[in-house]
Symmetry: D2
Subunit: 321 residues, 4 copies
Amino acid sequence: MTETASAPYVGDLLKDSPKNWGKWGADDEVGALNYLGPAQVLAAVALVRSGKVFTLQMPMGNPAGDPVWPGRRGSERYMLLDESHWLADKGPSLPGGLHYADDAMSAFLQGSTQYDALGHVWYDGEIWNGYDATSTIGGMAKASVQPIAEKGVVGRGVLLDMARHRGKETLDKGETFTQHDLLACAEAQGVEIRQRDILVIRTGFLNLFHQLGKEAFYDGFSEPGLTYSPELVQWFQDLEVPNLVTDTIANEVTIDPESGVALPLHCALMRNLGIVFTEICNLDKLAADCAEDGQWEFMYTAAPLKVVNGTGAPVNPVVIK
Amino acid sequence: MTETASAPYVGDLLKDSPKNWGKWGADDEVGALNYLGPAQVLAAVALVRSGKVFTLQMPMGNPAGDPVWPGRRGSERYMLLDESHWLADKGPSLPGGLHYADDAMSAFLQGSTQYDALGHVWYDGEIWNGYDATSTIGGMAKASVQPIAEKGVVGRGVLLDMARHRGKETLDKGETFTQHDLLACAEAQGVEIRQRDILVIRTGFLNLFHQLGKEAFYDGFSEPGLTYSPELVQWFQDLEVPNLVTDTIANEVTIDPESGVALPLHCALMRNLGIVFTEICNLDKLAADCAEDGQWEFMYTAAPLKVVNGTGAPVNPVVIK
Amino acid sequence: MTETASAPYVGDLLKDSPKNWGKWGADDEVGALNYLGPAQVLAAVALVRSGKVFTLQMPMGNPAGDPVWPGRRGSERYMLLDESHWLADKGPSLPGGLHYADDAMSAFLQGSTQYDALGHVWYDGEIWNGYDATSTIGGMAKASVQPIAEKGVVGRGVLLDMARHRGKETLDKGETFTQHDLLACAEAQGVEIRQRDILVIRTGFLNLFHQLGKEAFYDGFSEPGLTYSPELVQWFQDLEVPNLVTDTIANEVTIDPESGVALPLHCALMRNLGIVFTEICNLDKLAADCAEDGQWEFMYTAAPLKVVNGTGAPVNPVVIK
Amino acid sequence: MTETASAPYVGDLLKDSPKNWGKWGADDEVGALNYLGPAQVLAAVALVRSGKVFTLQMPMGNPAGDPVWPGRRGSERYMLLDESHWLADKGPSLPGGLHYADDAMSAFLQGSTQYDALGHVWYDGEIWNGYDATSTIGGMAKASVQPIAEKGVVGRGVLLDMARHRGKETLDKGETFTQHDLLACAEAQGVEIRQRDILVIRTGFLNLFHQLGKEAFYDGFSEPGLTYSPELVQWFQDLEVPNLVTDTIANEVTIDPESGVALPLHCALMRNLGIVFTEICNLDKLAADCAEDGQWEFMYTAAPLKVVNGTGAPVNPVVIK
């Protein structure tokens, strides 16, 4: 990620950007997920035709490495008990003599496919819904991932395969697209983007992590993704998007090329509008199937782990067609 | 857990118990989840009426403690970055100046609501499907939780509220029940148990963890649950149960009172029949709703984390009614 | 630890207590360890007579448990590689074919025998030497354990065996003693306490952790130890004590019985005078030897781990007689 | 580390290499440290002249990275409590109101300056003293680092500054030296290598980790160091070396250039002779001082952490001149 000394303060860039603070009450912690009620659930269920099931999480704790934001590390699983303990006469002795295996994991909560808490990113000393940013200290007292996990996410998902749409295996480093591109992609795919849809955007980018190797992947790190504009923000607001799901680490272009600001959409969409972000998905199998059967809409269900006070939590979303 | 010196070897107890090894091929790692195909998914979807959503995970990393099997510990979340770092001029400086929070977690993979890998428990040197038990060494090379997580679980779930059925807040320590009790419970609830149903059994027991406090909860640790009998095993086999879900730590009575063997159903149902276990759920809100609307059947969806080589993985199941 | 609602604010209790801030410069981070220079090292070396060596750390990562302050947990060691990996054909293959073992540890830095950083405890928004308490945020930017570890501690140590002096296996919960008791103990032992001595005080208390079991040990947790008085603080100051070493978790009585304040000596001696604390030692073998040969003075050497920004770090002190 | 397909099996290479198994009893776990008794301690003490103190550990948990063997990772320290918790009204409230800081660490036990357990490396299914290699499973039941930590290490140390001797800032990747070079270095330095000396060898190599950066440092990873020969092994045996201390990660050249075997001296010296290895030291300040005052011999004291069943443990050795 290259710093741009001349980037304006994100609070200045977004000083006229819309906010949904207070819209769902002073105590709200799930934001735009409030758009998903029984009607949206029933509409999603009605999309299921063939009974096919897809899971969207990346493997976690991969010995070959997990793609993560620079400065984080991949998950580490370690074994605590296995058959070798009995081979060495060190296994626990239970009545009846069964053997079992046990393990544990150390993981960054933002280090795999995960839901961000609404309070994960902020500026001007306030997080989502106007909670004071000091509420993040030592753990998210407000707008943590737990309320999202308690609610669960069920709705109509639409896959927008930007890589396929542009005839590429994967979008390039720093390659951008806008809401107009999303609409063009939807049109080309023959699918309609509807009010309160969960937008699932595919870039193919994280496949480069294993294809290029770690060093080349991180060299000049710059993910492809959506770029900020006031119009894009308004489009998300008007569409009442509850949840933005992508197969990149941060759901937007790393540095907005026009302003030079890092991750302005985390601020404009998540902090201000309460749109929930799901990151680091693997959408390859789902996309291949959609390309084959021409059905780009589906029932999307997901619930991250209920990590108390967490800034985010891992998730394995389930898509049903 | 009290040891019973005179307990027979579990391999002797189960020497005539049925096995599904090879039934789904020599390479199978998901066992009875093979019972869940498109037909079961579509049948599950057809159960959705009101669009209500429930999530079944316990909170994770609760500062007040997580209930876990004796010898394990609850999840520990720790903060790596929050607003205080900028208060002290130690926060990272991103172009545009946004702030963000980051955290990590150390967790036993069997230490929250979780799916067991099919290879989690074994005897006679062989795990599910006949894989050698040495394949567990250092990580589950076979029958890990990952294939379960890749497939995802979607089907018709039926809640059997044994606590409510017996007129109790919670079943007692070591209290048992059988398939006959499950059938009587279903009948009393007015719900039919069907072929290939995901059985979701409520005991209320883990509420005692916070009500009694840790010490009293673990004193003479003995969970309530199903007890072993050849007839019960055959009943599960005939019913083609893909997944057994409960709100206890181990899904069965801790020590089978008749034989004195610890956890024989892990051996008879999981290792031998390939039935997948989901443990440590919180079923209270779902049960209250079912009692109110009289609908004890629902669409059940779940996908544990795709932990490579894991003995199990946390999950937050989603139920839709 | 019982809270005493009526306890005065520690800053009021100590408002006239002496401070050594600035005494060793505005940048000092090792405080009273400055009392230990070449002269003290040479004097310590001159005490060695028989060539006997003692190590003072408690075992760490004991499967039977490590005694720690309530709310912390003991160290967890876990195996990453051992002979079983080659038994299962999973071991790394090095040229020549050697095998090796590897492991890792997760530990509270204050969770074993350890040196406290001088900035570990504070009040009134200032830590040792007047550094701002916000310098502790995210890691000790000032007065961390690292400068102590870089310097190392070598000097004349004197063991004061308060348990033996009072004819007990171990002091009782909450049992107190003062500088007068230390002097009486030294006199009874026939050893002189000299200027700039490292004071090593034995209570025997932590033996109760394994003798009584965890629950009884922590029930009404209250360690024995020194109690606060202005005279005691002045005594330490006049004596120029560089380092206070004990076999309790916190080096002083848990709650000062007179004022009701928790750990006032951490404030008066460590924060204000810069005296370095070494906690959770095992002094049993050393004490038995001193009782036998009548030599209660010795060369003391110790250097905690050089943990960057640490609040403390484990240590295994070495005593030579 | 480049694999050499044609490397002989290390057990064949060393089939006639001497062993000290049984020399200190069938239960011995400290090997050549038995050479260090009261006489050696007193001789070491007699070397102290000026009272200068040096500590030899590398910083640990350095945000800029810790140099470790490929495949391991550096130590991670994380904050659990600091002043920010009180700024946000989340700090614990102790009687009297003191504030304090707390942190924890996750570390590979071989990932900083450390003592290897004698059982850390083996071949032919047997570790030091003939213990079965299956004793390593899940934790070192035999020849762990704990007995070394209980004993402590005190003796005459001699610094052999191979980098300075060869007129270099640091030895090169893969650069080798032998016992003859050590003797020549000692002679040039004007110091005598005596029976039972602790040999402390400086290469300067790990300075390249921060100078070159991680990627360049690990590219074609090959440390400089001693090379295997039967004569070198016999020289260590005849000299009764208790402890080999260096400033490289593995104390010897990574791949022996003649045989192509990785780390043969771990096998010949540690596994077979019981010589204890101390790795990853920082010897720069000590070496600069020795070069200045011409005194290359000193009192060396060290005691790694008493990690129960550990394959090794961190240490901060103290040298006194």
